[in-house]
Assembly symmetry: C2
Homo-oligomer: 239 residues x 2
Amino acid sequence: MRYELYYQPLIQGRGEFVRLALEDAGADYVDVARNPSVGRAGIMKILEDRSIKTPAFAPPFLKAGKLMIGQTANILQFLAPRLGLVPKDQASRIWAHQLQLTVTDWMAEVGAVHHPIANSLYYEEQKDESKKRASYFTSMRIPKFLGYYEAVMERNPKGSKYLLGKRLCYVDLSLFQMVEGLRYAFPKTMAKLEPNYPRVIALHDRVAVRPRLKKYLASPRRLAFNQNGIFRHYPELDE
Amino acid sequence: MRYELYYQPLIQGRGEFVRLALEDAGADYVDVARNPSVGRAGIMKILEDRSIKTPAFAPPFLKAGKLMIGQTANILQFLAPRLGLVPKDQASRIWAHQLQLTVTDWMAEVGAVHHPIANSLYYEEQKDESKKRASYFTSMRIPKFLGYYEAVMERNPKGSKYLLGKRLCYVDLSLFQMVEGLRYAFPKTMAKLEPNYPRVIALHDRVAVRPRLKKYLASPRRLAFNQNGIFRHYPELDE
């Protein structure tokens, strides 16, 4: 089946978690809004189309045959068994989804660093508040989340190479992406913190060299991090 | 099966979405931390217990036989088919979960109103920032979310009584709870807004009189909203 991913065409954002799963699995998919004749406007049009019975609150959403699925973690939960990116048993699937939902929470906090007051305002209009929020995020929240995933890997009964089981699953790809994004946004903080989370960093490195993913990351399909995305680098927030 | 719910014992919080599903279904469950000999400390002890292989990042979590499941929407997705609170077909289940995950996003924004800078600080230490955040939340975000669920009900091909299909599902209970909480926290704002979302409000009223739920809401098991919860009433944030 050819999957259709709908997400903003100029940023990695939440869509990137879905792209990584599709790319790692070598799935047949089209990143619809990257076509300039569709773009962001094309996505907004779909969101407002009253004939659609299951509208997403926001992108990303995925079309798979007749299904239209929104919410990043929901999309991944749907795709993962089809892409061979999660074990078959129910307990593993529930656990993987739980770990992915915690990534969702983490991402919301990443966005809140540069937009603590309102998404409708520019960063420059909430810079003072952002500085305070960033100090909390870098000193307390990044360690809390990294420490959580480190503990999960440490406790994995099948060994500490992956988050669950002994093979890669889709949540490993998302954790890779969190490390990538945090390194872009908070390089000083991450340089200090990384030595405390050796399993997470080893997982990141293991994911980066997976053949299909390595090719993807070097391709033009992988958008560069930039200052319109969710991960943003403002040096004043990384101190 | 007797389900064991683990959540903070003195607030409704995220645990309440799970309680509502269990109560509406008349399920056999125990709200573990309400036992004073367990309390909040008992939950924290479990979260730090290294022998647990699937630790939650934060409460609530649910024990169901051998499974220990975290993340509110994940718990509900697991429980709903067992409690008869979601249709059987895959498309409906994916759609219901998507709607529930949007409630998760909404709740995170509710908490951010009184804690825009850091959860580790008191409200009084971030009052100025809260005022700004509240103005954004009440003027733009509450209408956006209510408008979304109103549109979903309007588009429901099986009629506009419920969010999906023609019978109540677990997400209807969560939407009831959002209206309850917002009325407590932002009574002035809600009084102004509610007339614009007649389907959502009618759903709220329909849920409130369901026999088991009505009994629950009048019982001591239903904690009162209070200023330690996620929904908080600060008059200065409701203007």
